[in-house]
Amino acid sequence: MAELPVREGSVLARTVLRVTGIGRRYAGIPALTGVTMDVRAGEVLAVVGENGAGKSTLLKILSGVIAPSDGVIEQVDANGTSVPLQMENVREAARAGIALVHQELNLAENLDVAGSIFLGREPARFGFLKRATMMREAREWLHRVGLNVDPSTQCESLSIAQRQLVEIAKALSTQAKILILDEPTSSLSAREAARLLAIVKVLRASGVAIVFVSHHLDEVLEIADRVLVLRDGQQTGILNRDACDRATIERLMVGREIAAPAARVLPVDAQVRLQVQSLQTVHHRRHRISFEVRAGEIVGLAGLVGAGRTEVLEAIAGVTSSAGHASLDGIALTGNASQRVCEGVALVPEDRARNGLFLQDSVSMNLSLAWIGQHRQRGLVNRQGERAIVNHMISRMRVQPPAPARRVQTLSGGNQQKSVIGRCLAVNPKLLLLDEPTRGVDVGARAEIHAEVRRLADTGSAVLFASSELEEVLMLADRILVMHEGRILGEFAARDATEVAIMHLATGGTA
């Protein structure tokens, strides 16, 4: 069946890559088994599955980052003849016209944006860089992905979302025949994400084969021509576009229904827990921010990339310097991050690889780091308690696989995120700050994380979170603050908020 060209829109969808029985084991334990599929030109193949289902593993194999333990990958040319690919490394894959955008960011931060885009493929004559050409072309690609920075900016000074866009520009600029995107939208806000989807559509129309991973089923439903569903490393089905609907995909993915969140009832006049007055952050000194969060309240910060939400959260947590005044339960928050943690503040950082995780250490160490400080007994670690809380958090957060001794590096992206959130929830903070809490987390797990956050709020803690997904903001927040270029432009109660109204403010419109 795969031999037959499939008509799809105006382009002939021809198979370019055939994958048969691909599997991968880590230290003997299978992460992926028996995936058989084909990748077709002019088609978007979405890969979906829960956290740890094996999506990234599959994509890394396709792009030569890791080698498969079993199976074959064949490249199929225009005549239908197939050549087995020996993809030992990335360069082989690049030669075969395959480009990958990694789930985790991978930029050499000392290079400028143009240098990062063209790293490994710089326009050159006799080894000498053609700088002007590079800048010009880089500017074009940046324009295409909608990133409005100068190509000579150092990557160091870009925000996460901007870096993600640079990575996307980099992949696009290879003009690959097969473009593989691992959760490209997870750190983008709605506007950039929409722009990316538009680009993907254009590429598809021009005959590029695209493999796309996302936990946002709306996106998947919007652009996918076919959907490959993985569960526990096994392929549970390939759905054609017409057979795709949310319920089917979710059933194949999870094997159970996802519970809808119960409605929350807020106490009417709870006391103010977090009070922020005239906060000035380093990169937005012009504006002063004031707001408050009450006990049991969940407040969401909405805004576009670079609106300054991360800075506000980090300033409250004390990890970056700021001017102004913040107090918790009437006691001023001064001092550095560690003092604030003692006073009951916890932060889930935006950049988990850099600021959240100890990648070479165990899940247990990552989960218990803050807890052991809070429950120390004359300076000693309460080791029994530690074991108990780790097991408790693993099951509460549904970290997969539930092995406390596993190195966090070997967990899938979503499970890494759960470990960071677990660490903060374990200490029952009085004020929980979350920055993009469910980045890279699957639908089911997201609901569970939301439930956990709500449970914390129900015990009287204050929660302040930032998210670039309006959907999440609307789902989780009791009250929404909209930020634009370092200012709070408006405020909504959750029940009054609409996506349109929020977007209007977030883009600088007036209330």
């Binding site: 560690s338 100890f358 780091l369 803050a370 300076g379």
Partner: protein, 328 residues
């Protein structure tokens, strides 16, 4: 334990070879000497290890050994101070040096390599200037104070092996540092800081304090070690006392399994690493190779040792992979 298997094998192999091809390796006198030297260098290496765990490096160890070691007889003999004043003073000075490094590194965010390299030059320079380049020694006196390093205890059933007194502080330190890393919150946090300072800071670990503390401990142990060294040797020249000791200390720590990327602690491994270096140096004389070859042999054996360790590790990983694949 598993992490230090490689270095333990290397250690045992060197001991065996020396015992077979050399003279008198297994005599009580030699084993006593080796114990003493291992204890002295281990104390430095433990300090180096603590800083390495914290993700830093301390190149000033040798110079702190020199300054502390030179100051002790200088104050006792030249200036006639009492030992009760000198020992606390020298230790306090060493700790202050560490504090100074720590503050420059954590507050001013200077590079540890550069700060401690300046320290390497500075403290030796101070020692040379203070003493006018004169060697300092106890001139046969202060037997009581020197017995801190020179006392030997008889051990039943071990023939003429006599346990050097320096083993006492070593054992105390190994136990304390071992417990620190495995049982205390700050030990855990120091490990975390070494692994990913940002992540540690974001989760509320007082990274600046801990890192500073690590430098204080390192310099303190270097100063303490320097004092024991001079008690042991009796005199020293400011221009070469302790030269390259930082490299021996760091090498012992790294051999013992502390990666320079930070976050790996292996206290027993450090001691075995220090012992390996000392046995190697002795082996060269006992086997009769000639002192010219000392450097070449130590360098060569270490290189072969670490390369073999890595190859064995890979091979066994591959074996494990294969057997588990067959089971599936």
């Amino acid at each position: 334990m598993k992490k230090s298997l490689g270095i333990i094998c290397l250690f045992v192999a060197i001991c065996l070879i020396t015992a077979i091809y050399g003279d008198g390796f297994l005599t009580g006198f030699n084993l006593t000497n080796l114990t003493q030297r291992t204890a002295l260098f281990s104390i430095l290496a433990l300090g180096a290890g603590v800083v390495i765990v914290a993700g830093g490096i301390d190149l000033s160890i040798g110079s702190v050994v020199c300054l502390a070691g030179i100051m002790t007889p200088w104050l006792l003999v030249e200036h006639g101070w009492s030992a009760w004043a000198v020992i606390p003073l020298v230790l306090a000075m060493s700790a202050t040096i560490g504090l100074f490094h720590g503050v420059l590194i954590t507050r001013l965010r200077l590079q540890p390599f550069l700060v401690t390299l300046c320290g390497l030059l500075l403290y030796r320079g101070i020692a040379r200037w203070m003493t006018g380049d004169q060697s300092q020694g106890f001139q046969g006196e202060f037997e009581d104070v020197r017995s801190i390093a020179l006392a030997r205890f008889d051990v039943p059933f071990l023939g003429d092996y006599r346990l050097p007194a320096t083993v006492i502080p070593l054992v105390i330190l190994v136990v304390l540092i071992g417990l620190f890393f495995s049982r205390t919150v700050w030990g855990r946090w120091l490990l975390a800081t070494g692994r990913n300072e940002n992540a540690a800071r974001y989760s509320g670990v007082p990274t600046a304090w801990l890192t500073t503390g690590a430098y204080v401990v390192c310099s303190l142990l270097a100063g303490f070690g320097g004092m024991l060294f001079i008690f042991d040797i009796g005199s020293a020249q400011p221009s070469d006392f302790g030269n390259f000791y930082e490299l021996y200390a760091i090498a012992a720590a790294v051999l013992g399994g502390c990666s320079l990327r930070g976050g790996d602690a292996n206290v027993l491994g450090i001691v075995v690493g220090a012992a390996t270096l000392q046995v190697l140096r002795t082996a060269i004389i006992l086997v009769g190779l000639g002192s010219q070859l000392e450097f070449a042999v130590i360098g060569g054996v270490l290189l072969i040792g670490i390369a073999a360790d890595e190859l064995v590790r890979r091979y066994s990983a591959r074996r494990a992979e294969q057997t588990s694949r067959m089971q599936h």
